[in-house]
Symmetry: C2
Subunit: 320 residues, 2 copies
Amino acid sequence: MDKVYLSVDLGGTRIRAARCRAAGTIEARTEQFTRAEDGANAVVERIAESLRVVWPAKGKVASIGVGVPGPVDPFTGVIFLAPNIPGFVNLPLRDWLQAIFKVPVVLGNDANLAGLAEWRYGAARGHGHVVYLTVSTGIGGGVIMGGHLLVGSRGLAGELGHVKIDYHGGACQCGSVGCIESIASGTGMVRQVRERLAAGEKSRVMEIVSGDLDAINVEAIARAAEQGDALANAVLDNAFYALGMAVVSFLHTYNPSLVVIGGGVSNLGERMFTPVRDTVMRHVMDPAYVCPIVPAQLSSDVGLLGGLALALDPPPQSSH
Amino acid sequence: MDKVYLSVDLGGTRIRAARCRAAGTIEARTEQFTRAEDGANAVVERIAESLRVVWPAKGKVASIGVGVPGPVDPFTGVIFLAPNIPGFVNLPLRDWLQAIFKVPVVLGNDANLAGLAEWRYGAARGHGHVVYLTVSTGIGGGVIMGGHLLVGSRGLAGELGHVKIDYHGGACQCGSVGCIESIASGTGMVRQVRERLAAGEKSRVMEIVSGDLDAINVEAIARAAEQGDALANAVLDNAFYALGMAVVSFLHTYNPSLVVIGGGVSNLGERMFTPVRDTVMRHVMDPAYVCPIVPAQLSSDVGLLGGLALALDPPPQSSH
């Protein structure tokens, strides 16, 4: 009989869990608030509680895959850090959950797992070498090479938002400068618009948000751009040129057969994809590197499907 | 009995070939000029001739590994392009050699193979996840992930010299702008010094090369820098800061346990390694990414050992 897998999508706001089959079907699901302010032990207990809700009445669980909002070591099952969950620092979540449930547990970074989900169930099915980017408030990534998630020596590979695209550039929230995230993420674009407004430039964005600087978001910038606003278009153009240049770097370093872009900013559709693709065509070093750049297909279940995909195909238990 | 492998190091100037054992011992070798101007057929015939010279009198050859100065598809054995060998365009060298010698032949890009050689026989022995950079007239790379050469969907991965570090920056010889090669390669540094001299800046470099602009090279720049020359130090500082930032990107994208840097520029020793390491420590997003950054160990045989390493462990024959 078809094996049963459990999947957990741990977020800063919500904990989702599901009972799944390898084909990508979700048979049961549950959701609750993370309430990270209650501390690490309470959050771990909520994860366990969610797993009990979806645990099958009969039959066995083959394994449990958990997506975590921060860097994790898949070899040791330790969460280095989850920026949105205070207390999740060097937390051995895998061993804690295995001690409770007595089945294999495997952890992965949420952006990595979103890439894995798109590869197994979404836009990248059938491709062996895939670069996945999520462009949202931040920029994250996941890389599939030869049909396996690229994790590197400590599970930290694929941190695609923090490649340097502007080595003498402005500050990034990671503490360094010039990362693609600081230019092409939603947060980065909003910051650039605010800075230029503060410097005295004019933009329709201000009317769209009724003069409330704090209300500026990517949708407002995109609306202003659509109406022909010069400042909004300049910020979007620069961001998507930068994103295209980062994609060129990824083509040269990973040589994927497909690039998938998801996340909130990708909902701008062709306003984002067209300049990214144009930049790639202009700047790639050889046409042999060119590959399709397509939107992600999975929506709100991408996290649960990522945990499932990881449970099905955990990284080899070696490191170094 | 221990198997015999043949290795070819095809360069724009010289063709080297050797008879080897898996341990990295070279039992016989030969070398001749490539004389690329004679055309592709003549060069292929010279490769075959070199292989006949080192062919064992008795016993079998297990396989032949060939390093090529340009992008190759390891799955089809076709050389896309060898910039220094006119006529080597979409050349099915693997099949040609297999037809002649009736043993398995495998092709790889020379910088990729240098990384593979450092991993199997040099500075990166015992590491499963390695980023290798050669910083010379250009910048090339080779990446080992999980004990295998990362080749990507068409064998083009690891082209580390053409990551974008300055997205609004100056021209690179690849036809694009802002590549790390354009800033931190020997050619890039020499160009920057010449441009600043042409703009009227003064430098001791001019005395060192006796006023001959064409004689400016990395050694002359380094000598001037050592003597306290401001222009020379500024160019080196900027180049090695840029190189360090590129290494930060590689740590974030590949998460290696070791970075190896070879090539002519790396002979500057601590004048290069110290600023690169300092930049990494300052700009990496989390200390968990930090790993040693060490000099390459193999010298002129790196190409032959790379071909041997590839022959021993060819990439899986699948793609996409």
